[in-house]
Structures are given as structure tokens and as C-alpha cells.
């Protein structure tokens, strides 16, 4: 029997798979938490993908970049929540973390720029540019290289929620 897909009024329902919660203070206390969390979650959710090792490698690569973004937040308090859910070939990352208002505005603008034809050009320009990679590059790369769909959702308090749908199962070798 194959996986069961749920849909309600045209909006697919993603089945929860795993969630990790940490105080942001604890999370940012060691840079390697990004690596630990992305590697662990990638392994956990990739077991029943058609190629578990390859899926885990790609998922870890994408999630680590998002966690590194969260790790650079300028907000000192609150919690980080990383939740992964699944609908068919797509895995959804919901990353909630505290941020200051300027950062929230930045993410909202950045996400609005990752769609559209100019996204690829912006991404290539950033690769060849002199400046160190910005948080926007991470989001552009997810959209361009991983075919990810991104959006920002409301979250409680001084937090922001990045929602990233990754269709890794469908990515060709």
C-alpha cells in the first residue's frame, strides 16, 4: 500500500513527521547545532524515501542553510521550532524563530523576490559577486536549485515562521 494523501478543499494536508524545539539562546550557543539538527532530522525523515541516503544528503544541505539563517538572528530570547511534515513527494519545513522587526521585514521582502524569472539571475549574480553570501542567497538557492516553494507565515510574539516546501523526491540525479 502506498502513502496516504489527504486533501481538504484543494489544499494538501501535510502529515507531521518530526519536530525539534529549543530555546534560541541554547541553539545559538554552538554553531554546530545547525549541523547536528539538520543531519539528525534528515536521517529520520529520509528512511522511507526511494533513495534514503541521497534524500538525506539533499535535505540536510537545505535545512542546514535555513538553520544557519535562524542562528544569525539578532533577537536574544524566545524559542526555535523546526517541524517537518510530508505530503507525497514534498517535504515541508516550518522553521519558527525569534527575530527583530527589521529582520522580519527583510525576510518578507526576500521571500517575495524568490519567485519569478529574475530569481535565477539574482542567484547567479550573488554567486559571482564579491560580497559574502547573504540570507537572501540562501532563500534564492532553495528556490532555484531545489525547486522549493517558500512563504512567510505569522507567528506568535517576536517570531517569524519560514515555510519551505521541498520536492526533493522528484529532483533528478
Amino acid at each position: 500500500m502506498g502513502p496516504v494523501h489527504h486533501e481538504l478543499a484543494g489544499e494538501p494536508i501535510f502529515a507531521p513527521m518530526i519536530q525539534i524545539d529549543m530555546e534560541i539562546k541554547a541553539f545559538v550557543s554552538a554553531w554546530r547545532h545547525c549541523d547536528y539538527v539538520s543531519t539528525y532530522m534528515a536521517r529520520m525523515i529520509s528512511q522511507n524515501r526511494s533513495d534514503s541516503v541521497r534524500h538525506s544528503n539533499l535535505f540536510s544541505s537545505a535545512l542546514n542553510e535555513l538553520l544557519e539563517v535562524a542562528s544569525r538572528t539578532r533577537h536574544a530570547g524566545g524559542d526555535l521550532a523546526c517541524r517537518v511534515s510530508r505530503h507525497g513527494a514534498t517535504d515541508r519545513i516550518e522553521l519558527t524563530f525569534p527575530c527583530v522587526p527589521e529582520e522580519r521585514q527583510f525576510y518578507e521582502e526576500a521571500v517575495s523576490h524568490v519567485t519569478g524569472t529574475e530569481a535565477r539571475e539574482r542567484y547567479l549574480n550573488s554567486v559571482s559577486g564579491d560580497l559574502a553570501p547573504s540570507r537572501e542567497v540562501v532563500l534564492l538557492e532553495l528556490a532555484v536549485d531545489y525547486n522549493a516553494a517558500l512563504r512567510v507565515e505569522e507567528a506568535d510574539g517576536d517570531a517569524i515562521k519560514l515555510v519551505v516546501d521541498l520536492p526533493l523526491e522528484g529532483l533528478q540525479h
Binding site: 554553531w31 554546530r32 533513495d51 534514503s52 541516503v53 544557519e68 547567479l124 554567486v127 559571482s128 559574502a132
Partner: protein, 392 residues
């Protein structure tokens, strides 16, 4: 600080002979300063070479954007300052993101090209892994399984273990193991996408659970080290031109105290009665033919030496003979006919063999089939089984 923090996560080195800078492992720094020595090594390498510098990222399992930018910046700047110098980035198709990400660089600077490495490591496999060979591989596994199901427990197979089947081909051995021994997990890896597609199709149709089929290069696997109780690699070392590289990887992914199990042939020892002389001549020629394509189908009795040299202990070696008496003699005959088609067909043609040789070569296979189907005949195909324990 956890013990994990003490492990080196990546390694960069420069090989002056090959003008090759390689970086391997997980490169996820917080700040570029952490890459200082590696970046200095790359800059130094650039300063020493003329013509082409190879950048080997085949075993680069992860690299974050910060590190990628630091390294790519050096390549791009060098291209602009030194148009005489070319960069060739060697990626592996196994690591999904590398060709994609490094491929962007060639769009920016024409002097940077990206090549996927894998195919050159498998000089002769194309003969054996195309779709038409699948029924024969299934028959071969059916014939060897009659013996191996009794042999495997002597080499570490038992219920509940975590095992890997490297070079799993169409996955039929993994399925048989799953049904017979119920390991808790099987990771089955192969480099042939068509074989893996077939294996996954069988798994879906038969609702088989507990096997993870994964695409990979047996000489450089993405699998973590020391995670399997038993690692099997059947009929495969003999078709690689550098079996010691595969064994090194099998050793790496095997747990200390776990075992690596290999099977190989000595083709020149295939035999039959009647018509023994013709059969012997042909299989001697088979060994030479494979040798021409850098494959050693005489490897079986060398297994002990290979395992010892790879660092294993408690090495156990045994042999068994698949014969026409094991089951339906027609199965045996069908396998020989398929060998004849490939060996006296495409492979002989590729080597440039003349019609006279091919006729005699093919005759030996026909005589082997004759022996297998003869009511008083006997036909055999010997297999060497060997395993070694990774020291604690």
C-alpha cells in the same frame, strides 16, 4: 565539548603530481577564518600550477554557502587574473547537490568546467548492467542462493542485524536475505540507476519492507562509517579494476567487530563433462577477455589476501560449486547461454576478435550447455566465499 567536536569534519589536500586539490567531508564553518589553512593550501596550489588545476569534490558530502562562496571566489578571481589557467571541478553524481552547485561556476567563468567522475571507474560494467541481463542475474542469484543461505550464518548473518549490500544490482539478494533472515535494516547500494529502478519496482509490487535502495559509488560511499554489522558485496570486486578501493570502503562502513562478506569467481575453473577440454579452453579465454577490460574474474582465491591487506582479521574462506544438479538444469543452461551472448558477442567484438576465434570461443559455452543438459552430464560454476572481521 562533545567527542563529536573533536572529530575532523573535513580534509583538504593537494597532490602535486596530478595537480589536484581535493576537499572531502562536511564543511560547514560559521566564519571563513575556520577555513584558513585550506584556503591557503588552495591559493598555494594555484600559484604552483600551469595549465589545469583539478578540484576534486567527489567526497565533499556537505558544504554550506559561506564555505562555497569562499572557495568559488578564489576560482573566479583566479580566472580573471590568469586566463591561461583552467579549473576542472570533479564531482560525483552520487552527491546530489555538488554538480548542480559547482555547475553554476562554469556559467560564470568559461575556464571552469565541471565533470562527473563516476563512469570512468566502471570500465567494463556497461556490458553487465544493461536491462537485457536482468533475467540472467535473477537466475544466477537463485542458483547461488541455494548454497549461500546455508553459508551466510557462518559469516555473521543473523536475525536483527543492520546490514548493507553493496553493489546490490537488481536487489534480489537483499530480498532473499530479508525473507530468510529478517535483519532489522538493509541498505542496498548500487551504481546502476536502471538496476535500482527494477529493485524498487519489485519492492513496491511485492510490498517488501525494510530495504533501502540507494544510488552510490561503491568506492566512495555517502554512508557513515562503522554502522553495519554485516556488509555484503557479491560478485563485484572482480569487475572493478581497483578492488582494494572498494574493500577500503566496505571496511569503513562496517562496525568494529562486524564482518564483510564477499563472493567472487575463478572463471577458468568452470568445468563440465563431457567435452571438458573445449569447456576448459573457453573459460580460460573468458578470464583473459575480462583481463583485457581490467576485470579480474579469477579473483576468488585471492579473496583471502585482499581481506588481509585491507586490515580484516578472523578471515574465513570457503567455496561452493553451482551445478546443473542443483535445480532445473535448464536454469544453468540459460545462464551459460547469456554469458555466451555477452562474452562471445559484444565483449569479443569490442576487443577485436576474429570470426575463427569467436566460433571456437562460443563452442566452449555450447559444450558447457551440452554437459549441463546431458542426462549423464555434469556442469559446474565455482564460487569463492570469504569474510573478515573488522578489528574492535
Amino acid at each position: 565539548m562533545s567527542p563529536y567536536d573533536l572529530l575532523p569534519r573535513f580534509k583538504a589536500q593537494y597532490d602535486a603530481n596530478n595537480q589536484e586539490f581535493s576537499i572531502a567531508g562536511v564543511v560547514r564553518p560559521q566564519a571563513i577564518d575556520e577555513l584558513g589553512p585550506s584556503i591557503a593550501l588552495l591559493r598555494d596550489a594555484i600559484g604552483r600550477v600551469r595549465g589545469v588545476l583539478y578540484l576534486n569534490v567527489r567526497r565533499l558530502t556537505q558544504m554550506n554557502n559561506a564555505a562555497f562562496h569562499a572557495f568559488s571566489r578564489i576560482l573566479i578571481d583566479t580566472c580573471r587574473a590568469r586566463p591561461d589557467l583552467k579549473f576542472v571541478v570533479i564531482t560525483s553524481s552520487v552527491v546530489g547537490w555538488t554538480s548542480r552547485k559547482f555547475g553554476r561556476l562554469s556559467g560564470i567563468e568559461p575556464n571552469i568546467t565541471v565533470e562527473e567522475y563516476d563512469s570512468e571507474f566502471y570500465p567494463g560494467q556497461g556490458f553487465l548492467e544493461e536491462g537485457g541481463f536482468v533475467p540472467i542475474l535473477r537466475s544466477q542469484t537463485k542458483m547461488t542462493w541455494r548454497h549461500e543461505r546455508a553459508i551466510l550464518p557462518r559469516h555473521g548473518m543473523r536475525q536483527g542485524i543492520v546490514m548493507a549490500d553493496i553493489c546490490c544490482g537488481i536487489g534480489d539478494f537483499a530480498v532473499l536475505v530479508q525473507k530468510e533472515f529478517q535483519p532489522s535494516r538493509i541498505v542496498a547500494l548500487d551504481h546502476s540507476i536502471s538496476s535500482l529502478n527494477y529493485a524498487r519496482q519489485v519492492m513496491r509490487e511485492f510490498d517488501i519492507r525494510g530495504i533501502e535502495y540507494t544510488y552510490g559509488d561503491a568506492s566512495e560511499m555517502l554512508l557513515d562509517e562503522a554502522q553495519f554489522d554485516l556488509v555484503t558485496c557479491r560478485h563485484s570486486l572482480q569487475i572493478f579494476n581497483r578492488p582494494e578501493l572498494i574493500l577500503k570502503e566496505l571496511y569503513r562502513i562496517c562496525k568494529p567487530g562486524g564482518r564483510v562478506y564477499i563472493t567472487n569467481e575463478k572463471n577458468s575453473h568452470c568445468l563440465g563433462e563431457p567435452r571438458a577440454e573445449s569447456i576448459r579452453w573457453t573459460y580460460n579465454e573468458v578470464a583473459k577477455l575480462f583481463g583485457h577490460f581490467e576485470m579480474d574474474v579469477e579473483l576468488g582465491p585471492k579473496s583471502r589476501r585482499y581481506l588481509m591487506e585491507a586490515g580484516f582479521e578472523d578471515i574465513r574462506v570457503e567455496t561452493f560449486m553451482v551445478t546443473n544438479l542443483d535445480g532445473d538444469p535448464q536454469d544453468f543452461a540459460d545462464v551459460i547461454a547469456a554469458w555466451a551472448d555477452v562474452y562471445a558477442g559484444e565483449m569479443a567484438t569490442r576487443r577485436g576478435d576474429g570470426p575463427e576465434f569467436v566460433a571456437q570461443f562460443r563452442q566452449g559455452f555450447e559444450d558447457h550447455i551440452f554437459a549441463a543438459l546431458h542426462p549423464k552430464g555434469y556442469a559446474g560454476w565455482p564460487i569463492w566465499v570469504a569474510s573478515g572481521r573488522r578489528p574492535q
